[in-house]
């Protein structure tokens, strides 16, 4: 009965319809191929001086150029990190502490529906005595620009507004946010968590408006455990992780060579195909949405449908518990998500939907379906049939009388 976890993968051969790209994506074949040489022969530590080290070092610097190009930055502005959360932490804590040390202020502004990596970083700063303001978002999941302008002041040192929301997929008006910040809070740096954006939004076109951008490889076909903070020239940052001084002293620790190389391959593929993918995946998403709304007439969509990324469909089924629905879907081979997952694997109530003013009842009836580069028509067919069937099952469960 005992399975050797090092030899037999669990659930080998079970077919699934994967609709959880916002959690993580499969890897692009190009990314897997790109990383293998740096796990095998070119495994060196880039900090060394010998040939094997130099090969690794060169690969990292070439990857830096590719990533910089894809994100509209210069190579010197790229800081490789251990992922999106780490990049958010470095951006927010690193700039706020630096600015306060320079005596420029103590105000931190973010939104009510950021990723936990941003919210927890701001909470930390709050405990260190910073003034932290959470700007409300509207019912459609868009940041309230008037409220933002209202909380900014000349003592604001850091503003963090996400580019794409991780649950409802709404694209935030970053250019307008930047305008407000420049006008009212001249000392503030503007950070954006763009972790959910790279597959769907031309991040490079927006980089000129912001100072810091956080990105994570595993959301666009790269490996987990590697990300980027774009830190524009002139932004001064205090490091979170100190040691050997890698990444210009901003992120010490032996560089994740294979991961970085794979991330570069993945971002190149993603950016090259992005326009076509937005169209293709958007059509799949729209077909799924139409099918579900037709099959379950009282279903409702969360988030502004005109301002969300192509891969996102956040949908609620009144009277159905999302947690039960996810299990019913998993039993049918359909992988979806709801709320945000905690480390125990339990589904926690969504702070995003709460911030949008969605009732607790509706929030607990809502699930996130997210599509991506390997999604197919067949996936939509399975989901379009399977989800209404699961909803129907839960709604008409033969209640055993008490």
């Amino acid at each position: 009965m005992r399975r050797d976890p090092c030899r037999t993968p669990p659930y080998a051969g079970r077919v699934t319809t994967y609709l959880d790209y916002a959690a993580t994506t499969p890897m692009h074949a190009e990314a897997i191929d790109a990383m293998v040489p740096y796990l095998r022969e070119s495994f060196g530590n880039p900090s060394g001086l010998h040939t094997v080290a130099r090969r690794a070092k060169n690969a990292v610097e070439e990857a830096r150029e590719v990533v910089a190009g894809a994100l509209g930055a210069t190579p010197a502005e790229i800081v490789f990190t251990g992922g999106g959360t780490e990049a958010d932490n470095l951006a927010i804590k690193g700039t706020a502490r630096s600015k306060r040390a320079e005596g420029l202020g103590d105000g931190v502004v973010t939104t009510a529906f950021e990723h936990k990596g941003v919210l927890a970083s701001c909470d930390r700063l709050g405990r260190e005595g910073f003034r932290v303001a959470h700007v409300p978002v509207d019912r459609g999941g868009i940041v309230d620009l008037d409220a933002l302008a209202g909380v900014l002041d000349r003592r604001t040192v850091c503003v963090s507004v996400m580019l794409v929301n991780n649950e409802v997929g709404t694209i935030q008006p970053l250019r307008e946010v930047a305008g407000a910040v420049r006008e009212v809070a001249p000392h503030a740096v503007l950070h954006t968590d763009a972790v959910q954006a790279v597959s769907w939004v031309d991040v490079a076109a927006l980089v000129a408006d912001v100072d810091l951008v956080a990105v994570s490889a595993h959301k666009f076909g790269g490996p987990k455990g590697v990300g980027v903070l774009v830190a524009r020239n002139g932004v001064s940052l205090l490091p979170e992780i100190e040691g050997g001084g890698q990444e210009r002293g901003l992120r010490s620790g032996t560089v994740n060579v294979a991961g970085i190389v794979a991330m570069a391959a993945a971002i190149r593929v993603t950016v090259d195909r992005r326009d076509r993918e937005i169209e293709r995946v958007g059509a799949l998403r729209d077909r799924l949405e139409r099918g579900l709304l037709a099959a379950v007439p009282d279903a409702f969509v969360n988030g502004d449908r005109t301002r969300r990324v192509a891969g996102n469909l956040h949908i609620g089924f009144p009277g159905v518990e999302a947690e039960a629905l996810l299990v019913a879907l998993d039993r049918r081979g359909i992988c979806a998500a709801a709320g945000s997952s905690c480390s125990s694997g339990a589904t926690e109530p969504s702070h995003v939907l709460a911030a949008m003013g969605v009732s607790r009842e509706d929030a607990q009836a809502s699930i996130r379906l997210s599509l991506g580069f390997a999604s197919t028509d067949a996936d939509v067919d399975v989901a379009r049939d399977g989800i209404p069937a699961a909803v129907e099952q839960l709604r008409t469960a033969p209640m055993v009388p008490r």
């Binding site: 009965m1 399975r3 947690e323 039993r331 480390s343 339990a346 589904t347 055993v400």
Partner: protein, 343 residues
């Protein structure tokens, strides 16, 4: 033909791990589930990340799906809040009974049926037997570990869809099975205390959630013996930690929450001829009023003999008073007939 689909509640302990494993061996279509009932990300006490992880790893070993159900809100509402308010009201609640009633055979049971499962299984030491006419609930084979007392509320509706796979095993046999199956929980220590109180203890927990009223400790003849910080520190029948020095052994014989008065007396002052019950439930119908039953008032207490007349158990010989809020389970030998909560 598809096999019976069973949802097994896995706490991360050895009993439920073996329950799941035995069901898999018996050929059932088994899914594991761990209920997250309490707390945030704490790594001690019930539903800690490490317990969930143990359950998940055992499920992976058995190659069965595993889910976590977040019932923390309902648990707080249905179990923890009533627990606190019972203590503040001078009662002695049994949260395991309430958890079984409202969570395992309430929330979890209903969800299992809605998801199309045929039965729910747990790692309780008790036995379900089906006769030609009904389902019966019997004590677990290991008398020292028997948990049928906390299952008194299960009726035909629940028992028809309940599996208790380790009820036939002794605890030693359970551990042997776990070792044979190389389950990672084989040597795990048992949990003993109230699962949601992970540090500090009951008094601290109760007072952190409800205001307490200090009051006086008296003897049965009315003499003031001392003061206390709140009635939740006391249980009917308690004789340790009373905080007053008297010459002879004294027991808590009464708690009056409205006046915050705790009354101490001798053992004889505790004796009662009967105990009134609320929340009565029967496995398969109420036993006849003239039937002599085995009346058990603690998880592993020795039963006394008595009859159930209307809503009151009448003892054959006087028994120490049962603390209000405690479960009173009614047996005939090893067979559970039902029970209620002492008023």
């Amino acid at each position: 033909m598809t096999s019976t689909r069973v949802l097994v509640a896995m706490s991360g302990g050895v009993d439920s791990s073996v329950a799941a494993a035995l069901l898999v061996e018996q050929g059932f279509d088994v899914t594991g589930v761990t209920m997250k009932l309490w707390g945030g990300e704490s790594d001690s006490g019930c539903c800690s990340v490490s317990d969930v992880e143990d359950a998940r790893r055992v499920a992976a070993q058995l190659d069965i799906p595993h889910y976590v159900f977040n019932f923390a809100d309902e648990f707080d509402r249905a179990v923890v809040d009533p627990y606190v308010h019972a203590y503040v009201a001078g009662r002695t609640p049994n949260p395991c009974v309430e958890c079984n009633r409202s969570m395992k055979w309430g929330r979890l049971f209903d969800r299992a049926l809605a998801l199309g499962y045929d039965a729910v299984a747990t790692g309780h030491h008790a036995r379900v037997r089906s006769t030609s006419t009904a389902f019966e609930l019997w004590r677990g084979a290991d008398a020292a570990k028997d948990q049928s007392y906390v299952l008194y509320m299960l009726g035909q509706r629940e028992l028809a869809r309940t599996m208790l796979p380790i009820g036939e095993l002794t605890k030693t046999a359970v551990r042997e099975q776990a070792a044979r199956l190389e389950l990672r929980t084989a040597a795990k220590a048992e949990s003993m205390d109230v699962c949601f109180i992970t540090r500090g203890g009951r008094e601290q927990f109760v007072s952190s959630r409800a205001p307490e009223t200090p009051g006086v400790i008296r003897s049965v003849d009315g003499a003031a013996l001392g003061r206390h910080d709140g009635v939740s520190a006391f249980t009917i029948g308690q004789r340790r930690g009373l905080g007053v020095a008297v010459g002879e052994r004294r027991f808590v014989v009464d708690i009056d929450a409205p006046s915050a008065t705790v009354t101490l007396g001798r053992r004889d002052d505790l004796l009662r001829d009967e105990v009134a019950l609320t929340d009565l439930a029967f496995v398969e119908g109420r036993p006849a009023a003239d039937r002599v039953l085995d009346v058990q008032v603690r998880a592993h207490g020795t039963p006394a003999r008595g009859r159930l007349v209307d809503r009151t158990v009448e003892y054959e010989a006087a028994q120490p008073r049962v603390a209000p809020g405690q479960a009173v389970a009614l047996y005939q030998g090893a067979r559970l007939l039902g029970g209620g909560i002492a008023v």
